[in-house]
Every structure is written in structure tokens, then in C-alpha cells.
Amino acid sequence: MVVIDAALVQKVAGLASLELSDAESTYALTHLGRILDYVAELERLPTAQLTALADAEALPAFERPDEVSLSLSAEAAMANAPAHQATAFQVPRIIE
């Protein structure tokens, strides 16, 4: 069983690209710990012989022809961008 501490909470927040306030970190420490304690019941599951099932059993795989089809216009794709120039999304400078 994993022990959740403040350092692990910060590490996971970093992986998730989140910044947590002190209150959010405390909340995560408490509740993430409780949830992980609960799901530890799965550790006792005899699953060595089982293949993991990533999708529902009923799910068949449907494929479509790999053909070019119509998509959004550049104008429509840009319409909700917080910042853009012509047909490019604008982001902070990434090369110093």
C-alpha cells in the first residue's frame, strides 16, 4: 500500500500540469489517501492469470477507410482560441 505524503501530492500535481493551493494540497492529501486506501482491495484480487480488459467486452472494433475527408476550416478552428495570429495559435515565447 502506498503512503500519500505532501511530496507525492506535489509530484502528481506536476505530472498532471496542475498547481495546487495549500488548501487544495491538504484536500488532496486527505482524500486521495482515503480513496487509495479503499481501492487497495484490488491488490488481493487473484489476477495473475487474467488479461486486463481495457474496454467493454461488447466493444467490437470498427474501422473506416483511411481517406481524406472534410474537416473544420482554419477560421472555425481558430474561433475559440484565446490568442491567435492568422492561422496560428499564439503561445508564450518558447525559445529564449
Partner: protein, 492 residues
């Protein structure tokens, strides 16, 4: 001109009435606009509402009626959960992250509704990104249960459920990732269905957990559920999980109470332990008697691994959510921080941290942890293996019975704020609905009575994959045998 009365119309009767000329689409729209404007603000059911847009839709519909187009949903108002994209109409997922976002396209289900003659009647409040069981996790405030406004309507499709229960629309769309249609339908005394995974396209549904998400209808009758399922079903090349080969429509399979004769029901014994509220237990016991009185057989069945569904679901759903919600980066759409002088990475982190609410962050954190190096085998892989066991348990049960019978939740609706500070307790309350999503099965909630305080209780029926018609036939037969929804309406 007809005198339309509250709680008297269904999608089926509206469509028939409009096509036969008994009443006009304008009368129907006027009736529901008046009810929505009167009751929606108090219940907080709607996140977007535009009278002018509705009148424009009605005007176009009148032309299509004159042209004698085939319109199975002629003039039917449909409220859309706010995690389903509507072209040019705000779609926020009840999150600050998507405030002001106007999708450049309609979801396939919205396209099909419009094609069938429905009138899109606004966007319904829900839990943020469909993550919640009470509708308390909306960035725009909680929805109130029309039966008692101190209580939650359930979630995450709480706005859709409360609006249909209050007759602000005859039908609505919800989405069900772990019970988000069935549980609020149960709490609000209406019918709600999660079809078989792959039956209805999810193109345009903002993804939460892609291997579990399913769009479905919410209504006051099973006939309306069937009507919508048939309009919405069918292959969509834009959703790789949508079934491509033909399968039967469901509406013709609805008959009446006689359909119960000889039908074999299985009572899932794991849901009838000490955690089940007495009011819910009594309602289910009475329902079993009704089924038997109409010639059905009911036996106890066991799903031995179903207690693992809470752990399996919250690990799998959170893991998929952590990947799906990575797209919200403040670049292409969605919230971007107003802080200046940040690097790209700092901007991304600040935007996500400002845009997402607490429950969404919590689930992203859980999912990120479950997929992280060193923990993936112990958590995510175990959950995926548990999913296989749960799916096998359902298959074994369906070798003995035609339809499973279960509660949708351990109790009727709970008070607003009652579980706010205990997310684990809220998660555990989902135990009755999660297994269905893990196994990809069709299931629905149909009104099944009231608890001693007068809050509605739904019966959950579950069928094998692609037996959606059988599921609806059984629920419709029970509804005809005991039409609870006709007995009482919420007092607004």
C-alpha cells in the same frame, strides 16, 4: 388552439399532434418557453437558453412540415446536457474552463435530433465535465430536485433530469459514464436509459472516460425513451466505437404488460445488503410482486465481483479523464490565465489550475497517479483485470435470466451538502450503476415508487449487450402495469 396542460404531453404525443395538425409547433414551443422561464431559474436547470434561437428553429420546422418531410420528432423540445456540442451555442461542461466556448460543429446526436424535427431547447446544467453524482460540482451552482428543493437531483445529468421531472421539456439528453443518466432519473422520478456501448455515437460528446461514456435519453415514459433511441442510434464513421452493421429498432418491440409473461428477472443480491435504505428495499420488493403478478419469474442471482466495481471504475475513469482532459491547455480553446510574463509551461499550469474545479482536479490527480511509473501495475492494470471479472459475472447471470433488476442507488435523493465533504462516500453511493458501464451493457431507470418522505425511487433494469429492445420492452411493460409517473407530480 389546444389548451396544453403541464405533465400531459410526451415526445410521442407532441410529434403525433404536430404532424396531424392537432396543435402547432409554435403552441408547443410557447408552452415550454413559459414553463422554462417560470421554473428554470429557481431550479437552476439551464446553463443556456435563447428564445430567439428557438423561434428560428420553429420557423424552419414549419417549412419542413409544409414540405411533408418525415419528422419523427416534429416540434419536440429537447434539452441537451451541456457536455454535448451544439454548433454556435455555448457548451461549457458546467466548467469555468469552457466559459464562452461555442463549438464549431454539432454533435452527431444533435444533428440527428435536428434532422428528425426536434427543437433544441437550451443546455442543461450538470456536474463539471460530468464528474459527480449530485450536480453539486457545477461551476454555475447546484441544480435543485423539483420534488423537494432541499435535495439533490442526482448527477451528473442533474439538470436534464430535473427539467424533465418539472416538465420544462418532455425529453432531454444526458450522458452516462457510471450511472449519470440512471441515478438522476431515479432521484427525479423519470425514466432514463444508458444504451449499449457503441449504439449511439459520442462524436461531439466532451470526453470524460472514453471506454465508458455513453449518451442516452431521459423522458417521462419508456415509449419516449424508445422513440429517441431509434432516432439517435446508427453507425457514425466519426466515432470508431459506433456499431457498423445493422440491428433492429427498439420502438416496435414495446408491447404492454403481457410482455412480462414468462420473462425471467434476476434480483442482484449483492445490492440488497444492509446498506440499502428501507424505503428503496420496500419499493423494489413491491416491484418484484408486480412483475410476478403479471407472469414474470424472479430469482436471486449473484454478481460476486460487483463490489469491486467502485475501485475499478474510479481508477479506470480517472485514468482516462487524466488523459482526455490534458487537451485543456489554454492554447486552442478554453480558459487561458490572464497572468503575464509566464513561460508556456507556466501558462499551461496556471490556466488549468484556474479553469478546473476541485472535483475535476481530484480525479485528474487520481488518474495521473494510477497511470504513473511504479504504480500503474498495482492500480490501473488491476482495475482493468477486475473489469474482466465483473463483465464475466454479468455474462454468467444472463445465462440464467433475461433481465437483471437492481436499485439505482442505495437510497432516494440525499440532502444538498450532505456528502460534500466526503467524496469517498459519494463514490460508494454509485455502486449500483458502475458495473453496467464497465461491461458496456444497456440499462435504464424506470419510476418505481416513492420513499416514506415522498421522494421518487427508480428501478434499474439491465440487459445483455445489444438487447436494448428487450430492456425497453420489460421496462415499458412494468410501467404499463404500474404507471407511477401518472400518480403524482412534483409540486413547484
Amino acid at each position: 388552439m389546444s389548451d396544453l396542460q403541464p405533465f400531459s404531453l410526451t415526445a410521442t404525443s407532441i410529434s403525433q399532434g404536430v404532424r396531424s395538425g392537432e396543435f402547432s409547433p409554435r403552441e408547443v414551443a410557447d408552452f415550454y418557453i413559459a414553463r422554462t422561464e417560470r421554473y428554470s431559474p429557481g431550479l437552476n436547470t439551464h446553463l443556456y437558453w435563447d428564445r430567439d434561437d428557438i423561434w428560428q428553429q420553429v420557423q424552419k420546422l414549419e417549412g419542413r412540415l409544409r414540405a411533408k418531410e418525415n419528422l419523427p420528432l416534429a416540434g419536440v423540445p429537447v434539452l441537451i446536457k451541456d457536455n454535448i456540442c451544439t454548433k454556435g451555442i455555448p457548451t461549457t461542461c458546467a466548467s469555468k474552463m469552457l466559459a464562452g466556448f461555442r463549438p464549431p460543429y454539432d454533435a452527431t446526436v444533435v444533428e440527428r435530433l435536428r434532422q428528425a424535427g426536434a427543437v433544441i431547447f437550451g443546455k442543461a446544467n450538470c456536474d463539471e465535465f460530468a464528474m459527480g453524482s449530485s450536480n453539486e460540482h457545477s461551476a454555475y451552482g447546484p441544480v435543485l430536485n423539483p420534488w423537494n428543493q432541499a435535495y439533490v437531483p442526482g448527477g451528473s445529468s442533474g439538470g436534464s433530469a430535473a427539467a424533465v421531472a418539472a416538465d420544462l421539456a418532455p425529453v432531454a439528453l444526458g450522458s452516462d459514464t457510471g450511472g449519470s443518466i440512471r441515478q438522476p432519473a431515479s432521484f427525479c422520478g423519470i425514466a432514463g436509459m444508458k444504451p449499449t456501448y457503441g449504439r449511439i455515437s459520442r462524436y461531439g460528446l466532451v470526453a470524460y472516460s472514453s471506454s465508458l461514456d455513453q449518451i442516452g435519453p431521459m423522458a417521462r415514459t419508456c415509449a419516449d425513451l424508445a422513440l429517441l433511441v431509434d432516432v439517435l442510434s446508427g453507425h457514425d464513421p466519426r466515432d470508431a466505437t459506433s456499431r457498423a452493421d445493422p440491428y433492429p429498432t427498439v420502438a416496435p418491440q414495446l408491447t404492454g404488460p403481457d410482455a412480462l409473461k414468462g420473462m425471467r428477472f434476476g434480483l442482484v443480491q449483492e445490492f440488497f445488503g444492509s446498506g440499502l435504505a428501507e424505503g428503496t428495499r420496500a419499493a423494489l420488493t413491491a416491484a418484484v410482486q408486480t412483475l410476478r403478478d403479471h407472469g414474470a419469474t424472479v430469482q436471486e442471482v449473484s454478481l460476486p465481483t460487483i463490489p469491486l466495481s467502485v475501485s475499478a471504475y474510479y481508477l479506470i475513469a480517472s485514468a482516462e479523464a487524466s488523459a482526455n482532459l490534458a487537451r485543456f491547455d489554454g492554447v486552442r480553446y478554453g480558459h487561458r490565465t490572464s497572468k503575464s510574463g509566464l513561460s508556456l509551461k507556466q501558462m499551461l499550469k496556471a490556466s488549468r489550475s484556474e479553469g478546473f474545479g476541485r472535483e475535476v482536479k481530484q480525479r485528474i490527480m487520481l488518474g495521473t497517479f494510477a497511470l504513473s511509473a511504479g504504480y500503474c501495475d498495482a492500480y490501473y492494470a488491476k482495475a482493468a483485470a477486475a473489469r474482466r471479472l465483473i463483465t464475466a459475472d454479468f455474462a454468467a447471470a444472463f445465462a440464467k435470466v433475461d433481465v437483471l433488476l437492481a436499485p439505482n442507488a442505495p437510497s432516494a435523493a440525499f440532502r444538498i451538502g450532505e456528502m460534500e465533504h466526503d467524496p469517498l462516500a459519494m463514490y460508494l453511493g454509485d455502486i449500483c450503476t458502475l458495473g453496467v458501464n464497465l461491461a458496456g451493457l444497456p440499462a435504464l431507470s424506470v419510476p418505481g415508487g416513492f420513499d416514506p418522505s415522498g421522494l421518487p425511487i427508480g428501478l434499474q433494469l439491465i440487459a445483455p449487450a445489444w438487447a436494448d429492445g428487450r430492456l425497453l420492452r420489460a421496462a415499458h411493460a412494468y410501467e404499463q402495469a404500474h404507471p407511477w409517473a401518472k400518480e403524482k407530480q412534483p409540486l413547484l
